[in-house]
Structure formats: C-alpha cells, structure tokens
Amino acid sequence: MTLYLLCLILFCIGLYGVLRKRNLVKIIIGLGIVEYSMNLFFILLGYRFGGRAPIDAQNQNILNMVDPLPQALVLTSIVIGLGVTALVISIAVRIYEKYGTFDITKIKRLKG
C-alpha cells in the first residue's frame, strides 16, 4: 500500500511541475515524471513480492508468478513516452530560437 501511495505522490509532483512551473524545460520534466509514475503503477499492479518469472519448466511447481503482461505494455508505453519527449523538446528548442526565452509567461502571442 505504501508503494502505491508513493506512486501517487510521484504523480502529483509531476502534475505540479506541468501545471505550476513557468520554464518550458521544467514542464517537460514534469511530463516525464507523470509518465514514469504511471509506468511504475502499472508494473506494481502485476508484481508479486518474492514472485518469479512465469517460465513453465518440467518438474517444478511454481506458486508465485509475476504477471508479465504489464511489463510488456509498459515497455510500449516507455517508447511512446520517448517519442513524445523527443518531439516536445525539439519544439521547445525551436521556441527558444524564436522567442529567446523559456518563460511561458513571455511566450503568449496566441490568446486562448
């Protein structure tokens, strides 16, 4: 239970970074933290303490197995996160070239 709570705290830290920080790079880091906390949460769902890899061998009676599916899914999710991060960082670099700052309060030519 403690682990799940820590996971939630990590998520909240990431969300705080996305919502409250003014620097573009810090927002991107916040985004990364949100993604990591989610991946961690998904891994925890399928993890068993003292469990082992689910490889079925002869003459062995395996009782406590780790669910391998979340790990496969999280691998996909990490790759997706990599793609998003790469794209967002390259956009941030181009924004810096155009505006000369990373401060989002100064980057507002669009009125929402």
Partner: protein
C-alpha cells in the same frame, strides 16, 4: 464464413505508405503524389467493400484474429456497424484533403515529410476504429496524437510552435489519464480484449472502480474531443496547422480520438448509466453554447471555425448523450455531416489564404467576383453548418432537437435551437465580410485556386448537398448499423466473442 482478411489493410496501407514516402520522398517527387493518391483511394474502396461484406454476411461484427490467436489471448480487429461508418467518414475526408493538399502544400518546403506525418495520423485513426483491444487503442491513439502534434507545428513559425507545445503537453496529460484508466481496468478484469472485458465487467459486481475509471476516461477522451472544460488547446492548435491539416483535425481527428472512443468505451465496455448520460448531455450542451458564443467575436477566419468545431462537437455529444435511438441517430448523423462541412470550411479558408494571403476577415472583401468556386462552396458549407433546410446539417440538427423533445428535455432543445441561430449569425458575418461587398484594392488581381483544390472543394460541397439523402430508407443501413452497435450496449461482448469463435 465471410472473408475478414481485408481488415488489417486499414492499418497496413497507410503505415507502409508513410514508411515508403519517408524513404523515397527526397528522390522521387512525382512518385510521392501518385502513391499517396492511390493508397487513399484504395483505403476508401476497402472501407466501402468492408461495409458491404458486413451487410451481406448477416453477422453484426466481423473479427480478424491477428496471428490466429483466439480473442481473449490474442489481439483481434473488429469491424462492426459503427467501425464501418467511422471508416468511411475518415477515409472519405482523408481522400479529399489529400487531393487538396497536393497543390496547397506547394508553398511549404518539405512535402514528403508532410505526407509521412499525414499517413501516420491516418494509421492511428484507422487503427483506433478497427481495433478490438483496449491497449492497442491507446497505442494507435498515441500514434495519431504524436503525428498531429508535429503537424500543428509544421510551419515552424512562432505561433505554430507555441500552439503545438500547448497541445502536446495537454494531450500527453490526457493520454496519461487514459493509460491509468486502462491500468485500473486491467487490474480488475485481467484482460485487455474489449469484448472479454465487457463480459467480465458484467459478471463481476459493480464496485467503486467503475465511476472512478469513468471519470479518468471522460477527462482523457474529453480532452481529445475538446469538450468545454478541456477545450483550451483547440482554438490555438487547429488554426495554426496548414489548412488541409486543420480540416483533418477538426473534421475527423477529434471525432475519432474523442467521440468514437467515448462511445465505444462507455457504451460497449463499461456500460452506460443514467447518471453518465446526463453528464454527457450537460457537457454537450455546455460546449455547444460556450463554443458558439466565443466564436461570435472572432475576426481570424480559421480561429472562428475552430470555435465552431467545439460547438458542433457539443451537438454530437448532446445527441449521443440523449441515449434514445433517435438521439444516437442524430448524433452520429451530425458527426458525419460535421466532418464534411467543417473540412470544406477549413479547405475554403485555406483557399482564401492561398489566393489572398490573409486570414483576417477585415482585410478581405468581395472575393465572390474573383473566386466563384470558393465563394459558392463556402456558401453551401455555411448554410449546412447553420442548419438551413435543403442541406445535410439541417436534418441532423432537426433529429437531435426532436430527440430532445421526445424525451422531454425542453431546456436542451432550446439550447440546441439557440446555438443554431448563433451559428447562423456568425456565418452571416463570414459571408458578408469575405465574399460579398465591394472588391478592395488588395484583392484586385487574385486568381481562383488551382484545379485539384477546386476538385476537393466541389466534391465535398456535393456531399453537403446530397448528405440529407442518407436518411432515405434504402441507404439508411449506413447510419442504422452504427446506431445499433451503440444501442446493443454490452451485447457487444457476446457478438464479438461469437463471431471470433467461428
């Protein structure tokens, strides 16, 4: 047993094409155009063929098992009435937009990259529609989203980068919520197959989990669909993209990623409740009003159209949220109609931008003389979106309002009527400033847009005029098939699992 081998081609063709274009694009310029047109045309043909196979086969769903694995274990692709309907909508719009962008994109420097991203986005959208696996849906959703973030920033001007950054950050947070929702559902049901998940969810008793997951999905997909509390990114992102991409984003992307996903997940997997339907109706009515009121004061043509997208999405969600057969029919019919006329309007704004070089309504005037095709198609699209009788928008709005009255929601019916009137006034402003009036000095020697762009404009305008005919009894199966899928609710599980076991 009907042939289902064509289903994976909805993903294979655009994905392979994107790969191929990025390889040969720099060397063979002409081949890129031919290849793109051919693949979009073949996708359109396969989607009509798919609907036809589905209709002949007397089954409610066709299932393709990837690698031959039976559904609860392997990934499957499902083509049912709703998928067939969405596939035709998406591929129809994609075809016209692609033909348009062959000439429109001449002013940008890197056409092959544009087509690569375009086809990646199409891969994502087709994938979301045909997949029968919840995590697969998430992966395709991210493919479509990442491609659209890059396409919004395609011009690499300051505003475009800013809009794209905003869109990317908000979109990623939304995806995170969807991911957590999927994680919770997997933890509860131990399966990712949508049909199997629906079966297990109806067997196990309903706990605290379902409302929690519903809220997560509503936040995630609602942001992708730009329902009102989550709409802040849309008015920046949609106008910043090149006009053909704005047409794709407003026309089909927000519907596939947002409304289709909401409908599929809530109606067929989680199961809808009265409370959830009333939330959907409230959000729909709110988007409808807020979007159109914000649109009234805009002078930038594309920004005005983007605010109208929010309001029209409100109509669709309101229609689906009524939950009666008539309401769902109206919602889905409006989805199709809105895809057609909103893409047409965005393509028109691109044509004006192409010819005159501005998007500000105050700087253009009297374009009707110089650009008759653009002016007339824009008039047709404006009348469709405002709901003037012979055009398609009128019928779908009428059905939604009638459905509201039938169920006794008089307040929502009133909101829909008021929204329609405000839409009309907003588009009268566009017509007055852009096309009527005296030709000003600046627009003295502009020309009508080239022939391929005109082809798309006229093609979409013809669909706008004839769209109302979809309600005729002989071709109503196109809409009815989609409505039946939503009405059967959790019966989806049984239908798909039966079709898969054959």
């Amino acid at each position: 047993m009907p042939n289902t081998n064509f289903i994976p081609w909805f993903v294979i063709i655009p994905l392979f094409n994107a790969f191929l274009i990025s390889l040969i694009g720099k060397v063979l310029k002409r081949a890129v155009s031919v290849l793109s047109i051919l693949s979009c045309l073949s996708l359109l043909i396969i989607s009509f063929y798919g609907l036809n196979v589905l209709r002949i086969s007397s089954q409610s769903a066709l299932v393709y098992k990837i690698g031959g694995w039976v559904p609860p274990f392997g990934i499957c692709m499902v083509l049912d009435g709703l998928s067939g309907f969405m596939l035709i909508t998406v591929n129809l719009i994609a075809f016209f937009v692609l033909v348009y962008s062959l000439q429109y994109m001449e002013k940008y420097t890197d056409k092959p990259k544009f087509f690569t991203l375009f086809f990646l986005m199409l891969t994502g959208m087709n994938g979301i529609i045909v997949t029968g696996d919840l995590f697969n849906l998430f992966v395709f959703l991210e493919i479509a989203s990442i491609a659209s973030y890059a396409l919004v920033a395609f011009g690499t001007e300051a505003e475009e980068l800013e809009a794209s950054f905003k869109y990317a950050v908000m979109g990623s947070v939304a995806s995170s919520f969807i991911f957590i929702g999927i994680a919770f559902l997997y933890g509860f049901t131990s399966t990712l197959n949508m049909a199997d998940m629906a079966r297990i969810l109806s067997l196990k008793p309903n706990t605290w989990l379902i409302p929690f997951v519903s809220v997560l999905f509503l936040m995630g997909f609602g942001l992708k669909a730009s329902l009102v509390p989550f709409h802040a990114w849309l008015p920046d992102a949609h106008p910043s993209a090149p006009a053909s991409i704005s047409a794709m984003l407003s026309g089909v992307l927000i519907k596939t990623l947002g409304i289709y996903a909401i409908a599929r997940v809530f109606f067929n997997i989680i199961g809808i409740t009265k409370a959830f339907l009333s939330v959907l109706m409230f959000l729909g009515a709110l988007s409808l009003l807020v979007g159109v009121i914000l649109a009234l004061s805009q002078w930038d043509l594309k920004r005005l159209l983007a605010y109208h997208s929010i309001s029209q999405v409100g109509y669709i969600v309101l229609g689906i949220g009524i939950g009666s057969p008539l309401g769902i029919l109206g919602g889905l019919f409006h989805l199709f109609n809105h895809s057609v006329f909103k893409s047409l309007l965005f393509l028109n704004s691109g044509a004006i931008d192409y010819a005159v070089g501005t998007r500000d309504l105050r700087e253009m005037s009297g374009l009707k003389e110089r650009m008759p095709v653009t002016a007339n198609t824009n008039l047709i699209a404006s009348m469709s979106i405002a709901g003037i009788p012979p055009f398609n928008g009128f019928f779908s709005k009428l059905i939604i309002i009638l459905a509201c009255l039938q169920k006794g929601y008089f307040g929502y019916a009133l909101v829909a009527v008021v929204g329609s009137i405000l839409t009309l006034s907003s588009f009268m402003k566009v017509e007055k400033f852009a096309f009527f009036g005296k030709l000003n000095e600046r627009c003295r020697d502009i020309k009508e847009v080239p022939y391929l762009m005109r082809f798309s404009l006229i093609g979409l305008a013809i669909i706008c005029v004839l769209g109302g005919l979809l309600l005729l009894p002989s071709i109503k199966f196109f809409l009815n098939g989609a409505v039946d899928v939503l009405l059967q609710g959790k019966g989806y599980a049984k239908i798909v699992l039966e079709a898969a076991s054959k």
